[in-house]
Symmetry: C2
Subunit: 351 residues, 2 copies
């Protein structure tokens, strides 16, 4: 906008070669506006506290100097950093991407900055980050690998909200209810024996999914079996696919899409047709689920929204509104998205 610096009154050593120009401080603004620093501080953060005309003068001076308050210093004196850390087990996984995206979006809207941390599927790293990171006002734990006890412990001293974890506060994606839908879908296609391909042993959601699946399928007179655990990566899909074919199941419900897509690739390699020979249901509806081959029937979750809601919950915890109560739990709805990886059960039953 204003390139005032190019004026003739070239005051100070402008353009320090290779150096960064010194940023203006609140004191510079105060001097220019002819007031005390405290007045500047108040004018900017608590406008009602200072006379209108003085304030205008200050604002103008600040604009002229291109003044931006140092969040570091602000944080120092008022104890908050205006940053929140988002911990994910594996940035590689597109599932977390959507969470990151949702969180980022909401945080930005609230004037917070997002600090991203990859805990590499390790509970130690997670714990470490939780303790070390004094530079965050709060934490979002996406698919924490911590035990319930650790989680409870940490949440005593750190504001946090989890995603897909039975703790408080937390936002959980209601996959179980969609598992039922998936089961109905498979049942109506004539499948009687379905295999659950499970995710990491420490994954709370993988556990939950299996429980619901097992229970609901017996209600419907269907048989189940379980294989795994597998790492939630496409590369684990090959092993999962091979194991799955040996279970005699005509359909698989897979912990997540990544794994499911990996299985799809392997099955194709082995000449096993999907869905003619076996049906596959994924979970999460991640990027790619719609254009893989065949397109994946999957349990769609509003992942990005989950990220957003998590942030909202965290922020309401950080800045409590006197009247309102803090929401402790949000459940995100899910639904089955049927694509081409599921089809009628092969009728070799009477063969």
């Amino acid at each position: 906008m204003d390139t005032t610096t190019s004026g003739p009154g070239d005051e100070g050593p402008a353009d320090t070669p290779g150096g960064v120009e010194k940023m203006p401080t609140i004191r510079d603004v105060a001097k220019l506006a002819g007031v005390a620093t405290s007045t500047v501080s108040r004018a900017l953060s608590n406008p009602a506290r200072v006379n209108r005309y003085t304030r205008e003068r200050i604002v103008e001076a600040a604009a002229q100097l291109n003044y931006v308050p140092s969040s570091q210093a602000q944080g120092l004196s008022n104890g908050r950093t205006n940053a929140v850390a988002v911990l994910v087990p594996d940035i590689t996984n597109p599932f977390y991407f959507d969470i990151i995206r949702g969180a980022q979006h909401q945080l930005k809207a609230a004037g917070y900055t997002q600090v991203l941390v990859d805990t590499e599927e390790s509970s130690e790293m997670e714990l470490e980050a939780l303790h070390r990171m004094r530079s965050a006002d709060g934490f979002i734990l996406a698919a924490s690998r911590l035990t319930d006890a650790q989680l409870a412990e940490v949440s005593k001293t750190q504001p946090l909200v989890t995603i897909n974890r039975a703790s408080t506060p937390s936002v959980v994606i209601d996959t179980p209810s969609a598992i039922v839908q998936a089961l109905e879908h498979l049942a109506s296609l004539g499948h009687r024996r379905v295999c659950y391909v499970s995710g990491p042993a420490t994954s709370w959601s993988s556990q939950k999914r299996w429980e619901v699946l097992d229970e609901e399928s017996s209600l419907r007179g269907m048989e189940t079996c379980r294989i795994g655990p597998y790492a939630p990566k496409t590369t684990s899909g090959a092993a999962a696919a091979d194991a799955a074919t040996r279970t005699g199941a005509t359909a698989c419900i897979v912990f997540n899409d990544l794994l499911a897509i990996g299985m799809l690739q392997r099955l194709r390699e082995r000449g096993i047709r999907v869905p003619e020979d076996v049906s596959i249901v994924g979970c999460d509806d991640i990027f790619g689920a719609d254009f893989c081959n065949p397109p994946l029937t999957t349990i769609a979750s509003p992942i990005e929204q989950a990220g957003r809601v998590a942030v909202t919950m965290l922020l309401s915890q950080l800045n409590p509104v006197p009247g309102a109560t803090i929401r402790q739990r949000a459940v995100m709805p899910t639904h089955l998205t049927i694509r081409a990886s599921t089809g009628p059960a092969p009728d070799n039953v009477h063969g």
Copy 2:
């Protein structure tokens, strides 16, 4: 580890309900170790400066109190935040994913934290972030939407490194050389007329790719045409596909995989076979390029590595080693990965 707090000498208001316990400061450590705060500071950051035994006492005291220095305060006094901001035009895009991942990895290794900013394809937001973010020591600009002039201006006052941009310092992915490979590949398959499907108008790399493509193809006696610009999203693929079919080209080289995958979907819908009727070459080899239908022939780039190198360059700029010179430019090699989306040109030429 140590649950010392449960001891009988319950000093202080432990377990403030809902509150966060006060973190120990350098003074607490100093008191416990019986030294001055300055000594503690030095013991931790400049070990050589303090007697070994004193240091051990201090370290132990710090451990006992579970002391972690406040990076805020550190930053305030020494002027650095130990954070770097990574600006991407669109977190949605898997391409940036890999960059983020690479950067995150390298930053963590160096003890820095990563602040992620989505500039939403807007140069204003980019500029704004560059000016506002006093909380970062430096910036990584992935696919900046700024003009060369703006970039030059900003880099005078902020340490930064760009990715895929002709500025310094910068890491560029050598797509042009792989464009040649792609062209050879297509030529050997009998294609004579290829269409370039271009990305955003402000994208430097899209521009570069076209220039190389145009030049090299005429050297080989091939015809080219160009359509676009298109937003680099799968959803833009439909329009791109439709436009491409009208150019009479038998092969398309597409700005990036996202767009290419979108085209694949659209072509399939319209019953146009890939690669029988038209060949498609993407760019970036993002997540999904290997399992879409058909798997995409694409120009593979070491994107994650680019993120890492960018960080390395930035850090060497932030912490110059007296002897070494700072690398101003890194070129990442690329290669063509041939999958199933390219095949022999349809021989309707003499039809």
